[in-house]
Amino acid sequence: MGIITAFIDDRLKKYDPIWMAEHGTGGQRTRYYDVTGVAKYREWRGVKDTLFDYLSWLSNVLAMGKMVASAPVSIMKGFWEYRWMGSFLGTFMFIDRLFEGYRDEELRVAHAQMHAIVNNLTGRIGYILSHDRRLGASKEKSEKLVPIDEVLPELFMTGFPDLFPVPLQTLPEFIICDVDQHIEPYYIDIAESFGLPADVCSRCAAETGVALDDAFPLVGKALITTNMPCNASEATSMFQRRRVGLPDYQATLAMIHNDDELALPFSREIMKETIAFVEEHYDTKFNWDAFFKAAKRINEQNNFELEKWDYMKTGYTAEVGIAETLYKLYEWQSVNGADPYFNKVDRKVMKRLRKCYEKKYQPFGGRTRHRAFLWGPSAVYYTDFPTWAQNCWGIAIVLNMDSTMGFNMVDTEDPERAIDDLTRLTQKATMRHMAVGGWDNVNAVWEWAHNFNCDMVLMNDNIACKGMLGVHSIMEEQARELGFHFIFIEHDLEDSRTVSRQNMRDCVNQYMSIVLNEEPLDPTIVNFDDSDAY
């Protein structure tokens, strides 16, 4: 068998984009139609890896088939009703883009984790749509669902095992903007047509647009919002609560939260009030046993994460780039201990990672030239930026900011200690932990980069984020003093019309070619037009 695969690999290697780039006959972009981002054929990765990729594709197709079978009428109605549902059809192209150039161990880790996301997300979509009043679900059925803000980690909701939390913005905005760069500009335009200024964060504008367009699923009987970390976000919350029109509670956790003495007493009370709000409006009691079970799961995940970091610091790991950050983001922010399947995947992946470390496995065939810490939000996902940076310039994204969210352990025996830990974890959520959680959290970028043995820091620069614009020059000065290669990558988060994917790539291209005088690993992906791609 080995002889046969070796023979086929030898005969077909001229179609492998990595081989093509190394031999000057093409590269990753060769197999694409221009502008659209549609590939003429899928990537040839050698017999074993292509077959593995095919089987992973097949299992994702089956997961989607299962979703449709779980609620066929609601799913079809959902596709017909919601524009954002149409964007989920781009998922296969999204996955293909993310894992371009992945081979061997990193491909296996990436697909194991991606399948967990697909599995969970498809199940969630099916469940939500089948409970959506707009699509015909009864009031009684729909009221088992609790809409909560997407940046509120849902671990606390595991104490209500009979209820189903729905991070409200996740389906129409938070996740789908990663899959399809053209979906959110539609909602942004709606928000702006009502007078919302065009220079606010495009995430907030898009969410507002979804609310104004009446495109949130109609579920639940009370809503939990939060003080999201900037003015535009808070405005978003206001527009959403008005339009959703349900009784609501705003979980206003401390924004500057690193100091336990100052922040914890306040945030703890908010956490307790949030739980009490659910108890009151859904006529139920918080179940500590159910909560402790989920807390054990998130503790296990966080323990694995800390172990992973030790391997990632060395470079002998198959947990890399966009696969690592996307999985961590979803596992932490959207699942947050609620789905045991993620622990199963983690255990499987950890076994593989331990072996990789023992045999000193180097991902991407050892073609990495630089190790970078990335400070990047959604714009790095729809652009598959870490994958591109590795394939084009050999820049390995060792860790992204999305992987640094709350990793404290949660007590699993004593409710009082547990509520403190839960509060700490909840405070360290998306954005609150990063851009607006205080200067210490932004400044920590250097410590992360240093601890992970990075020589480079890539910092995404959301041109509409007023908070982060203020620290622009300070970051540049610090990078010079500390001796990091430092690249600001301008982007307009979810609006790719303002700063295109190629504009973003050019930030890196210029630094690598002009400042470092390096040659690309794959010249076909230095400059290309993918403006019509999902």
Binding site: R42, V61, W80, G86, L89, D96, L212, D214
Partner: protein
């Protein structure tokens, strides 16, 4: 109990043939990226046309 080897072989052959046909069809779709071409060039334009024609209840409150 007497096992009818011929019948068993026949069943296994049919299962094998079915799996082979399934593999050839799905692998061709996969390698030719046909499902994405169908989505990008046919399904999405059709859905977008429908979405553009929707009358939505757009308002602030």
């Amino acid at each position: 109990m007497k096992i009818d080897l011929k019948a068993l072989l026949n069943i296994l052959l049919k299962i094998g043939l079915g799996l082979l046909i399934f593999f050839v069809v799905t692998f061709t779709i996969y390698m030719g990226n046909f499902e994405n071409k169908l989505i990008y060039y046919v399904i999405r334009p059709f859905l977008n046309k429908h979405y553009d024609a929707q009358v939505r209840d757009r308002r602030i409150v």
